[in-house]
Symmetry: C2
Subunit: 219 residues, 2 copies
DNA sequence: CGCAAAACTGTATCGACGGTACAGTAGTTC
DNA sequence: GAACTACTGTACCGTCGATACAGTTTTGCG
């Protein structure tokens, strides 16, 4: 990585933390450059304006997010051949990942920007819509695979179930911020996991242990 | 209502629409007073600063929200004696209410402020935490009532299920903003309804009609 | 009607911020 | 040593939140 790229990276990191804490509108270029140890001219050398910073920031966030998702759902696939069990394992891993972040989840950049949409140009908004659609397709594909093996116990659209995970994570982040309780995110992901379990488990399996070990402690 | 109170009301209404569209930090007093047809001096006569505006705005939002909730869950209670059926009816009403808003849901003020928390003083943040806790207790009480009659099919904490509704609504609002698709909110509330149905319905009721009519069209 | 309080207006000023312009410079690379 | 990258320094503009304070209109009450 060249020196310029390094500086850009540092600026984006600082900006992201500030945007998640205060919102984009309230994040001043002044504070970013002070923390980054550069001048205002330096900032505008790297980014033509604040909107370009937003665009590069969202790009970075989405890529990193997708990387984590890939890892988690790949791991679940490794630990069980049954698509339902693999997904349930991945959801537990996701819940743990969310709660392991030291000072609580920093928040979802996508959500932060959605609440200030008028501040951003079409490029940024398209990028966000694109990534939400990608998450939908990712979860939808997993649920379709499960439905091949396990018949759903309710006639609900699996696309809506897929969206539900995104909604719950974003909603839980907001709740954890409002109550200053990072543990809510983990519990909400596990609540969604409970829904998936109920939706695909055989009707007779009332309050009994699932066929494949629920815990992945031994793995 | 006196003339002063009327003006304050108008200012708060204008401010709320702007905050939901752009965020609090990007909402200028200038644009508020132009739209309200007053001067800057007039604004600061009613509110000592922007933070006081935020506080009164949140107060109004929470009160109105609670009023709508009271109405919806009261109506469900009228339409069925069974607590589960009453809740399922109310959730359908809630979904309809959410989707009936002409140009999509304006967004959750609480969520908007959570993403810009550093901008607000302790008063505003306490008010928000309080209202989130109130929603938790409201839904928790309903679920506890249901659990007396219908045994849950999973050992999930009912407090988490209660929180899930708040999370899903907030998350769905974000998603509907990101995709510019207001219908997502309705569908997510109905997905939550499906979860509640699965959680409390007897294990044998696989894909069959519930005992009490699901639809409230005839009501 | 008269008067006081409420509900403003008008003017001026301040510091912080986003953004622009442009000249200059230190370090690296071919 | 020329070209290029990665900046710094300085100066300036318009907007915004906020403060101060004197002046004016509107309203309700006795």
């Amino acid at each position: 990585m060249g020196k310029g790229a390094e500086t850009r990276e540092r600026i984006i990191e600082i900006a992201e933390a500030s945007v998640l804490a205060k919102g984009f509108g309230a994040t001043s270029i002044e504070e970013i450059i002070v923390e980054a140890g550069i001048t205002k001219s330096g900032f505008f050398y790297h980014f033509k304006d604040k909107n370009e910073l937003a665009h590069k920031m969202v790009r970075r966030y989405v890529d990193e997010n997708n990387r984590v998702f890939d890892e988690i759902f790949e791991r679940g696939h490794q630990l069980s051949d049954d698509p339902l069990q693999a997904f349930l394992i991945s959801l537990k891993l996701l819940a743990e990942t969310m709660s392991d972040l030291p000072s609580g989840h920093p928040g979802c950049l996508i959500a932060s920007i959605c609440y200030q949409e008028r501040l951003f140009d079409r490029d940024v908004r398209n990028l966000i819509a694109q990534s939400v659609k990608e998450w939908h397709m990712r979860f939808r594909a997993i649920l379709d695979d499960i439905a091949v093996v396990h018949r759903p116990r309710d006639a609900i659209d699996l696309g809506d179930v897929a969206d539900m995970l995104s909604c719950i994570v974003d909603g839980a982040i907001i709740m954890s911020k409002a109550l200053n309780d990072p543990k809510r995110i983990e519990r909400q992901v596990l609540a969604f996991r409970s829904f998936v379990k109920l939706l695909f488990s055989p009707a007779t399996a009332q309050l009994e242990k699932p066929p494949v070990p629920d815990s992945i402690q031994a793995a």
